[in-house]
């Protein structure tokens, strides 16, 4: 059965290719190559390392990201044989295959692990799109991975931040963080009030996001504090709705915080605005009604 094993093989191979490209193509300091190699090891060998071994691997990844002088090393490159709007076709093969595969594999179980149908379909879409690119654009075999490494260098250490935050969520759960925060914030929710709980959950997502500058960081805290114990376990809300709408409430917080510098301050600088908070000011009147919308929406879809 095709499942996580196949996915981790594809991802591990891709990161190994990024590491090799970084090492041989532009050998200027090994930071990026080591970072990608460690992620490749995690994908390919993670199940054999044991929990402590994986913990040490994480510390090594963080060490390289912090001290390894990682960074993009863009070289000016001319466009290779520009093509027309057909270029969008291979790009659209990926979401189309991911969606079609999810629907097809759930109807014919047995071939693909139903829990991983979407991600397996995504990987198949990528392989298909890559095959189309090779047949049509005829690049050198290493070229897609060289280009992939260029994009990956721009993302840098931020690439594994979501995985790190999900892992932090697991440590929070182990330490009983949800119970404690739930106890502190729970005190201000009138007991038995579904609307009160929904409102505090969404406002809390937005507030934590404003403080931390990142909805991804706020999510594990609020979900384990209020989302799961109160909205899901006590009031029987559907986990998918609670999680998805809560995250979007967090995004409303991202729109108004200078802590999210890459979204709010960098564009202001790029556009040479005199007011460095000009973009935030232009976003506040959208963020507030949208946050209210999310609160009302989640309340309405609670049972």
């Amino acid at each position: 059965m095709i499942g996580l094993g196949f996915l981790y093989l594809v991802a591990g191979t891709t990161f190994a290719a990024f590491a090799l490209v970084s090492l041989f193509d532009r050998p200027r300091g090994p930071g990026n190559a080591v970072f990608y190699a460690l992620i490749a090891i995690s994908f390919l060998l993670g199940d054999r390392l044991g929990d402590l071994g994986n913990g040490v691997l994480v510390l090594a990844i963080v060490g390289v990201a912090t001290l390894g002088r990682m960074g993009p090393r863009d070289v000016e490159q001319a466009l290779a044989a520009p093509r027309g709007s057909l270029l969008f076709v291979p790009a659209l093969i990926i979401p189309a295959t991911a969606l079609a595969g999810t629907l097809v594999f759930s109807r014919f179980p047995g071939m693909v692990d139903p829990k991983q149908a979407t991600l397996v379909s995504l990987a198949l879409g990528v392989i298909l799109a890559l095959a189309v690119c090779f047949a049509w654009l005829r690049p050198a075999p290493v070229e897609p991975f060289r280009q992939g490494t260029r994009l990956m260098d721009h993302i840098g250490w931020a690439a594994i931040l979501p995985q790190m935050l999900a892992s932090l969520g697991a440590v929070f759960a182990l330490a009983g963080m949800g119970t404690v925060v739930g106890g502190v914030i729970g005190g201000i929710i009138p007991s038995g009030s579904v609307f009160g709980a929904v409102a505090i959950y969404c406002l809390g997502m937005a507030a934590f996001t404003i403080v931390m500058g990142n909805a991804f960081a706020a999510f594990p805290v609020m979900l384990t504090a209020i989302g799961l114990p109160l909205l899901v376990h006590t009031y029987h809300g559907a986990p998918a709705r609670v999680a998805a709408i809560g995250m979007l409430a967090g995004f409303c917080g991202t729109l108004v915080t200078p802590m999210a510098a890459n979204f709010n301050l960098v564009p202001a600088a790029l556009l040479e605005l005199k007011d460095r908070y000009g973009v935030i000011r232009a976003q506040i009147p959208t963020a507030i009604p949208l946050l209210i919308f999310n609160i009302v929406l989640l309340y309405l879809v609670m049972p």
């Binding site: 490494t149 182990l174 009983g176 990142n214 973009v279």
Partner: protein, 220 residues
């Protein structure tokens, strides 16, 4: 109560601009120690969770495809498409860009547009020029530019979560899984659709109101 120190570590660490990965590890250590766990137990617990959540980082397998397409001019084609948007007014132009950004982000193409790729070279100057046509010499050029950047952010934030393989969707899947709730990404991403529509309506209405303010300011 002591475990709350973990949240304080995150807030302080991000505020002081330490590397966020380092902040996350420090927060995990502080939280675990406060809960009475030993350092090795914390590292092992974090390592286990990291290993269990590897699928979150799978999304980057798309980069070789996007990269080779960019080498052959994908971003240039996207810019052509945006350049062809013929909004007679600043508001209508930005509404069209909002729709473009939401739809492409929902298809996973978050990187074909952005502040550097499209807003600075295209959308901001186009919005400014339209505002100048609507109210010659009587509009704030900063306002048009700020609205262009804001429209880009609103479009990508409230479009990308409809795509099933974006970091935030897989992060939700991971955190829920730690609590024993196993959900397919599609179940999460469909619940991004209502808010995406609301974002289009709310922000779109503001843009059209900005249009009316431009022309009314001229008459007054």
């Amino acid at each position: 109560m002591l475990v709350l120190a973990g949240i304080a570590v995150i807030a302080a660490g991000f505020l002081l601009r330490f590397n966020p990965l380092l902040v996350v590890v420090a927060a995990a250590l502080v939280t675990g120690l406060a809960a009475g766990l030993g350092p090795l137990a914390i590292i092992a617990a974090f390592g286990k969770a990291f290993n269990d959540n590897r699928y979150i980082t799978i999304v980057y397998i798309v980069l070789p495809v996007i990269g080779i397409l960019e080498l052959h001019g994908l971003q240039a084609r996207a810019r052509d498409l945006i350049g062809r948007i013929r909004g007679a007014t600043m508001g209508r132009l930005l509404v069209a860009y909002l729709l473009f950004r939401q739809i492409t982000a929902a298809l996973g193409l978050t990187s074909i547009a952005g502040p550097a790729q499209t807003v600075r070279p295209l959308v901001a100057p186009m919005a400014e020029a339209a505002a100048e046509r609507q109210a010659p010499g009587d509009h704030d050029p900063e306002r048009a530019k700020a609205l262009a950047a804001a429209t880009d952010n609103v479009g990508v934030f409230f479009g990308e979560d409809i795509f099933i393989a974006i970091g935030s969707i897989l992060l939700m899947k991971g955190v829920l899984q730690a609590d024993g709730i196993d959900l397919p990404p599609l179940a999460l991403s469909v619940w991004a659709i209502p808010t995406a529509i609301a974002a289009f309506v709310i922000h779109g209405a503001r843009l059209l109101l900005a249009d009316r303010r431009l022309t009314r300011g001229r008459r007054a």
